[in-house]
């Protein structure tokens, strides 16, 4: 039933589809604009915001450059606190662990808190294949799941759906998997939220097993942290007997005190709130409170590849706030699906090729899905140099192709570099161009032109070359003086 991201076309194809969907573009533009304004307002309240960003980056770098030590420390604290720790090299291994744990409880369903890591490893599909139903409980995830759809945003996965579409999905699908939507459901968001509350309540109260992710895992204390708004997270983390948390190995924070920085950075960057409604923290098992069978699955799934790239490593600082998506002009116009994974926008364009490798066409095209405008770096709460990383990965993609048959682009680039490496060669090329300029007798632009400039001139006029280059003018002027 749930769709996956496998075999996505390269970015341009997805982008073209998205651009043609006017409803999608309206929804996206409205949503990103709203959230940008909210973020701007609450970030502006914090006098030492830039200092906080530096501290956030430093804390994450501290973890990353001593990751082995911190992982072992986290494991020790968790075990002391009564949790069981599992390690998974890749998605298949992580899914296997979770499926076995659920089967051992005898349950045939789990409730889930929104977790990027579990979407990344496609846990729902694995559970389904094992005959276990996985119920997404975050409102947006529920909309995506019921609509048999793909998520398109980190924070608001159903950002591409408007209220009328949500109502239709609820009316059509809820009854098939549980309590149906109330009769006479309108498309007002409070009514839609109420429908979700009623639909999910019976699942929360009966669930024996929950699956979560974690926003932070604190090495010093063994504490896991989940940041949320709706209370579905609290339900999942509190009511079932068994709790399985799937945590990427980059989610660690060194010390308890570091949390003070991140609980300022994350909500303001993410939902644009001073603080999100609910944050849950738990340290292993608590006597007579919450799940008594507590598991943590530490997942690599490509993260150590990212770590091995000294430049690319900083992408692992990401706290999945989605601020970079919301300011990205490319994301705003094409939405999340074109990026072909659960991580869209600038961070997705950087993480995708690093986590999954650069063999696929999509992964090769992702680093180019940006104008390098730099808006993402300015909002990133952990100062990930996204534009520089995109350029770094472009270089990797180009270097991967060296040695084989050069592409038309590679040949053009080589010829260009050859011409530009010496002024006399440049002058020769310029003389050819100004020759055209003379023929055009001062026309300002060329309108439409043939390939390869046609990609440009489809919608934009091409400026005509001038009759003189600057250096010709300069030479004449100097000559006149001398």
């Amino acid at each position: 039933m749930s769709r996956t991201f496998v075999g996505m076309p390269k970015f341009q194809v997805g982008a073209r589809h998205a651009l043609a969907d006017t409803q999608l573009r309206r929804n996206l533009a409205h949503a990103t604009r709203t959230i940008r304004a909210k973020r701007g307002a609450v970030v502006g309240e914090v006098a030492d915001w830039e200092e906080l960003r530096v501290k956030g980056a430093e804390a994450k770098d501290r973890v990353l450059s001593n990751l082995d030590t911190y992982l072992v420390e986290l494991e020790a604290r968790l075990v002391e606190a009564g949790a069981t720790v599992h390690w998974a090299r890749d998605a298949a291994e992580a899914n296997g662990i979770v499926v076995d744990l659920v089967k051992a409880t005898g349950a045939d369903e789990v409730v889930k808190v929104k977790s990027m890591a579990t979407v990344e490893i496609e846990l729902n599909q694995a559970l389904e294949a094992a005959g276990i139903a996985a119920w997404e409980t975050d409102l947006a995830e529920l909309i995506v799941q019921l609509g048999d759809d793909l998520p398109s945003h980190i924070l608001v996965p159903a950002i591409h759906r408007n209220r009328a579409e949500v109502r239709e999905i609820f009316l059509r699908e809820m009854g098939k998997v549980g309590r149906p939507a109330p009769e006479g459901l309108t498309d007002e968001p409070p009514r839609l939220a109420e429908a979700a509350r009623l639909h999910l309540r019976e699942k929360f109260l009966r669930a024996k097993v929950a699956v979560s992710g974690a926003n932070f895992a604190i090495a010093e204390t063994g504490t896991l942290v989940v940041v949320e708004s709706e209370g579905n997270g609290r339900m999942c983390l509190t009511l079932p007997d068994t709790l399985i948390s799937v945590v990427g190995i980059e989610k660690l924070l060194p010390t308890w005190d570091d949390l003070g920085v991140f609980l300022q950075l994350l909500p303001r960057s993410s939902t644009g709130e001073r603080m999100n409604p609910y944050t849950s923290m738990w340290t292993g098992r608590t006597e007579e409170d919450g799940p008594q069978d507590v598991h943590v699955v530490l997942v690599d799934n490509g993260r150590t590849n990212v770590l091995a790239d000294v430049v690319g490593r900083q992408a692992l600082r990401c706290i999945r706030c989605s601020a970079c998506l919301n300011v990205c002009p490319v994301y705003e116009r094409v939405g999340g699906k074109a990026y072909g994974s659960v991580y869209p926008g600038p961070i997705g364009a950087v993480l995708g090729p690093q986590l999954r490798g650069r063999q696929g066409k999509l992964e090769q095209s992702l680093p180019y899905a940006s104008t390098l405008c730099g808006a993402c770096f300015d909002v990133c709460p952990v100062r990930i140099e996204l534009p520089d990383l995109l350029v770094h990965l472009r270089t990797r993609v180009v270097d991967d192709h060296r040695g084989g048959l050069p592409s038309a682009e590679a040949l053009t680039m080589r010829a260009g570099a050859f011409t530009l490496s010496r002024a006399d060669r440049l002058e020769k090329a310029q003389n050819a161009a100004t020759g055209v300029g003379h023929l055009l007798r001062g026309r300002a632009s060329l309108g439409r032109v043939p390939w390869p400039l046609s990609a440009w001139s489809e919608a934009r006029d091409v400026p005509a070359p001038p009759r003189h280059t600057f250096r010709q003018w300069w030479a004449k002027r100097e000559g006149g003086r001398g």
Partner: protein, 219 residues
């Protein structure tokens, strides 16, 4: 090699990769100077009350002598018939609730989660309040109930003492260290349950309590 050893080995190998990266040092110009963080007790409490109210929670300030009456009055005001009270809650409060005719269920009498659905409200104390964010933190010790208690009922009345309120998030984190080291779970609450998942329109009340009533006790 098992998965644990394999991952740790990969991490160690990755960290030996040669080269370095010169980090950028620039940043955007702050667009505003930011708001000053209050320092006096008075300002901190005022800001706390403001920020809690900003989430569309109900905020009331009361003197320490009249806490029990304030608790009972607040719940009556919301039309509550049945309330669940955590272990260790002040007995005076329980009596005041009974006096105004509210049926009181003790935490210990809730066996099934579903039973919590039949109560209208829960009353608890808190551990820390944070002024700049309007946040209240429970560590679920005596008077605050196990986590499920404050989750299922539709109304949560929290009594926060003025001396529990700090100005900033890092101060709160420092105060909470002991509870965490003791293995206590924490719940940070900033307003009622909410979602903005449909067209970024904020809706209060999804799964957690739809009404949050905060009693700030001074003196």
């Amino acid at each position: 090699m098992n998965a644990r050893e394999a991952i740790l080995e990969r991490v160690r190998t990755a960290l030996q990769a040669p080269g370095s990266h010169a980090a950028r040092t620039d940043g955007p110009q702050p667009t505003s100077a930011g708001l000053p963080v209050p320092t006096s007790r008075e300002e901190i409490l005022d800001l706390f009350a403001d920020r809690v109210a900003d989430y569309r929670s109900v905020v009331e300030r009361t003197g320490s002598g009249s806490q029990a009456a304030a608790v009972a009055r607040a719940l009556s005001g919301h039309g509550v018939h049945r309330v669940v009270v955590p272990r260790g809650l002040d007995d005076d409060w329980v009596q005041a609730l009974t006096r105004v005719g509210i049926e009181v269920t003790a935490e210990g009498d809730i066996s099934e989660h579903a039973l919590l659905e039949s109560v209208d409200a829960v009353v608890t104390t808190a551990t820390v309040g944070i002024a700049t964010t309007g946040t209240i933190v429970l560590d679920h010790a005596g008077g605050q109930g196990a986590r499920r208690l404050t989750l299922v009922p539709d109304l949560h009345l929290i009594v926060v003492r003025a001396d529990q309120v700090v100005a900033t998030v890092p101060e709160a984190v420092t105060r909470l260290r002991e509870a965490v080291l003791a293995g206590r779970p924490l719940t940070w609450i900033s307003g009622p349950s909410a979602t903005s998942d449909i067209e970024l329109d904020r809706v209060e009340g999804v799964h957690g309590p739809r009404t949050l009533h905060v009693l700030l006790v001074e003196g």
